[in-house]
Amino acid sequence: MRLAAAQTAALARRSVVGTLRTPQALFPSLFFPLVLMAIFTGSFGSAPGTIPGFPPVRGFLDFALAGAVLQGILIGGTTAGAAFALDIEGGFFDRLVASPVARGAILLGRLAGGVALAMFQTLLFLAIGIAFGARVEGGVAGVALLLVLACLLAVAVSGLGIVLALRTGSAEAVQGTFPLFFALLFFSSAFFPRETMTGWFKVVADLNPISYLVEAMRDQIVVGVEPGPTLIGLGVVIGLAALAVTGCALAFRRRLAAAP
């Protein structure tokens, strides 16, 4: 058990160091969310307090921060999945499987690496937001809850990336899922409140689990710790993470069974 934990930690460390050593992999998950947050804040800064239905917030930056955190984790998770696929393409995965490394450590190591990067990203985005005037109304408890939600989301997204990597063995195929995440993000309340949406778009945003997750994250920043939205968000992300981890285990077993 202790050995498996050490192996998981070593593989998680390798995953984090690998991402940090390839800035082109890390760059999109930091650059795009921050740039979009800045652009949306500049474009929609007049919205709070003016537009009917816009929830009461101190400023649009406070509102946009959760969307940026979520977007960063979605991009980072895709990168983690693609890195796992590169391990498969390059033969590292096969060498790991042939070694006495615990099977669970191979998956958990990559997931833990994704979670560590998501924690770093979330704290970095919060620090940048606060530096530019945002305030986390939930205080330390709010930040802690935000980190829990971010951590579970990272498990869900990295897990999905790993499932695809195990099924296809192709980094390109994993990266090809990025538009899907991008669409999920835009067709949710990640960047603008659901209360201002109408018609079929609102129906889609209402059905999109990302809406509830981002709203739970946003609540910690703009309102404070409130049990209702937090529990809904936690329920959604725990469900997604459980699905992803189950999918990982099944895809892993299937790949091992198919190996010559």
Binding site: I39, I51, F187, P193, M197, G199
Partner: protein
């Protein structure tokens, strides 16, 4: 001159038929503008409730953004195709042929312009399905003209990058600059609504004036005072980025 035109047209035709042979290259430039149109108009519709919009439809407000982005993608495709042609040796073979070098740029430019006409038509049709009819014939012509001009500017930028870097791995650089140019303008809201740093940057960004002219056309409110800043911005972009692409040609024989 006639020879140069024939070679340019041949290269343009080659780029166009690549659409059929490699749809994965062209499809994003068709899907992304439609995605931007639907996602932007749906997600940010609430911003049009601000008094500065005077009750205008946000879908109509977003159509020029989608046409300009579609044109930008058509332009970026020209750069990516050139990068692939450089990696594959096709450009080297053209350089040692009697074809004038300028045709290396002129051909993909013509192809980008044609693709932007197609994406603009698709976006206008999507707008029509969404309930926004096209403006008058002259205004529609202006929307097309501005899109074609922006596709040429984006193509010059992307080809300049391709000629200097000689690798398809530079594609993100081509894309990021076009994205930043468009989204740090009046992409989501008019200038009167923008706040802070974005207001300052949008005032300095030529794409702002291009988009404002296209929007005035879309809302059938296009007069000379709305059109000339857009045309001037376009001329400036084409002059600077055209020079960037042409000077990139000079680097071809060096390595």
């Amino acid at each position: 001159m006639r020879h140069a035109l024939a070679v340019s047209a041949g290269l343009a035709w080659r780029s166009i038929i690549l659409v059929r042979r490699m749809p994965s290259v062209f499809l994003p430039s068709l899907i992304m503008p439609l995605f931007i149109l639907v996602a932007t108009a749906g997600a940010f519709r609430g911003i049009s409730l601000l008094p500065q919009f005077a009750g205008a439809s946000y879908l109509a407000f977003t159509i020029p953004l989608a046409t300009v982005m579609g044109a930008g993608f058509a332009g970026m495709n020209a750069g990516m195709t050139m990068a692939r042609d450089i990696e594959g040796g096709f450009v080297d073979r053209l350089v040692v042929s009697p074809a004038p070098r300028l045709t290396l740029i002129a051909g993909p430019l013509m192809a980008a312009a044609m693709r932007s006409v197609f994406t603009t038509t698709v976006v206008l049709l999507a707008g029509l399905i969404g309930g926004v009819g096209p403006p008058g014939p002259l205004e529609t012509l202006a929307v097309y003209l501005l899109a074609v001009g922006f596709s040429a500017a984006a193509a010059c930028w992307a080809m300049g990058v391709a000629l200097r870097t000689r690798t398809i791995q530079a594609a993100p650089l081509m894309q990021v600059m076009v994205f930043l140019a468009v989204f740090t303008s009046v992409a989501y809201a008019p200038r009167e609504v923008l706040t802070g740093w974005l207001h300052t940057v949008a005032n300095l960004n030529p794409v702002t004036y291009l988009l404002e002219a296209a929007r005035a056309a879309e809302f059938s409110a296009l007069g000379w005072s709305e059109l000339w800043p857009g045309l001037a911005a376009l001329a400036g972009l084409l002059a600077v980025l055209g020079t960037w692409a042409v000077t990139g040609l000079a680097t071809l024989g060096r390595r």
